[in-house]
């Protein structure tokens, strides 16, 4: 399992992460980011891609 943390002070809900790791991140009905704080190891590459494309650099894998 991997643990994921999003700094919600930084996050501006751009949703770029949603395209990279749709099983982990989504925008809710109010256009705010929601995410799973843990994910299978198989999601690691997708989450890493989401980290790379986050405009605010707000996403972290907590190892």
């Amino acid at each position: 399992m991997i643990k994921i943390n999003v700094d919600m002070e930084k996050c501006q809900h751009y949703g770029q992460c949603v395209f990279e790791a749709p099983n982990v991140f989504r925008l809710n009905d109010d256009d705010k980011l929601e995410y799973h704080a843990t994910a299978e190891d198989s999601e690691r590459d997708n989450v890493q891609a989401a980290i790379d494309v986050c405009p605010m650099q707000a996403i972290f894998i907590v190892d």
Partner: protein
């Protein structure tokens, strides 16, 4: 000794390429040479958070993860000479770096106002962290600020300076700010929202003279208007950093010419086999949006390019010819994306809006939260929203030409 992959440019494009090389299985040496003293950092906050608050490099630095722990970063160093024929990059200390593959990621520099008698102090650009920190120290409550250029950087800086309590005037050539990236209707809306916050605009104007001794005192417009100011922020666009390739057989017509695999092109249109380009400096084919090769200055593009190039170079150097050929058969086909924050307005866009010949309101109401669609020959080539993120994202998969 194995020759390294050399990356010229140690900003986001250079970093992401190094990461991609490692993730694609390349375990050999990587050397990244960058002009700035700072390790790679994120530039979009420069016109916003960095200008507004007392933050340093740490606040905007990209994390250098384990994947790139053994990259040799040569920072604060310029490249003097590139010799593609002999595969040598020479830095400004005269050190020769013989490479196996070369990545050009030299980026852009801001275009400067070039008028006779320009005062030395008070005129600023905003491209690097040091630029933003230098500008920050000059803006406070009541400072008179003129922003020259009404693109995204200009409009974002104007909003940030206004929030800091400055008197802000934006001067732009076009009839409205952001005309090319947003289209007339949305651009007018953004101008109105900026004006409602107290930002002044002189559109359809150029600066003909900057007065002052050591420091900027005023700017004269072509209309004859004179605006007294303490700070002039030049946001009139960027130029690709091409000079170090001038002595080589490279297509440098408005950017480093690249093929569909981001390999650098010779003047005859054939690619250098082991030279690639990443980032804003690249002029590349993007046929799903546009029928000519071009540069695209959107933040997501260097990262997309780096993924592609890192994979290609790793496969090329692995010696697995079949896998490399398979990767080369897949052209680079990104969906450009940008966002912008100005006061309470938050824009998010996909595609290439400047290609549009028709614009339609798709969702919401003009002047409020809304989504515009941008069409070329009847096909959706771009979408841009004020707010309404989920709606904008829903259109992402629809942008692009089916008949390029």
């Amino acid at each position: 000794m194995t020759r390294p992959v050399v990356i010229i440019g140690a900003s986001m494009g250079g970093l992401r390429t190094a990461e991609s090389l490692r993730r694609s299985g390349y375990a050999g040496p990587i050397v990244a040479i960058g002009e700035e003293e700072h390790p790679p950092y994120n530039r979009p906050p420069l016109s916003k958070e960095v200008l507004a608050a007392d933050v340093n490099h740490e606040a905007v630095a990209f994390p250098l993860g384990d994947a790139v722990a053994d990259v040799e970063w040569i920072l604060g160093r310029k490249v003097d000479r590139v010799d593609l024929e002999n595969q040598i990059v020479t830095d400004d200390l005269g050190v020769e770096h013989h490479y196996e593959a070369l990545i050009i990621a030299t980026g852009l520099r801001p275009r400067r106002v070039d008028l006779p008698g320009m005062p030395k102090q008070g005129a600023h650009v905003i491209r690097s962290l040091d630029d933003a920190i230098a500008l920050r120290s000059e803006i406070s409550e009541g400072t008179r600020v003129v922003v020259y250029g009404a693109g995204f950087i200009g409009c974002e800086v104007a909003a940030t300076a206004k929030k800091l309590g400055a008197h802000v005037t934006v001067i732009g050539k076009g009839p409205v700010p952001l005309l090319r990236p947003l289209g007339l209707e949305l651009a007018r809306d953004i101008q109105a929202r900026q004006e409602a916050q107290g930002v002044n605009f002189f559109m359809g104007s150029t600066i003909t003279k900057v007065t002052g001794g050591d420091r900027v005192e005023s700017v004269l417009l072509d209309s004859g208007v004179e605006l007294y100011t303490q700070v002039l922020i030049e946001a009139i666009g960027s130029e690709p950093n091409l000079e170090l390739l001038h002595d080589n057989d490279v297509d440098l017509d408005g950017g480093v010419g690249a093929d569909a695999n981001l390999r650098v092109l010779k003047k005859d249109g054939t690619p250098w086999e082991n030279v690639y380009v990443v980032g804003d400096v690249a002029r590349f084919p993007i046929p799903q949006f546009c029928d000519y090769s071009r540069r695209v200055e959107h933040w997501n593009i260097p990262t997309e390019m780096a993924r592609k190039v890192g994979k290609e170079v790793a496969l090329q150097l692995s010696g697995d010819a079949d896998a490399f050929a398979e990767e080369l058969a897949k052209p680079f086909a990104p969906i450009p994306s940008f966002w912008s924050d100005q006061f309470d307005v938050s824009l998010l866009a996909y595609g290439l809006i400047d290609q549009a010949d028709d614009i339609q309101l798709l969702e919401g109401e003009a002047g409020g939260d809304c989504v515009y669609g941008y069409y070329k020959r009847g096909e959706l080539v771009g979408v841009c929203g004020v707010g309404m993120r989920s709606k904008v994202m829903g259109y992402r998969s629809q942008v692009g030409l089916t008949r390029p």
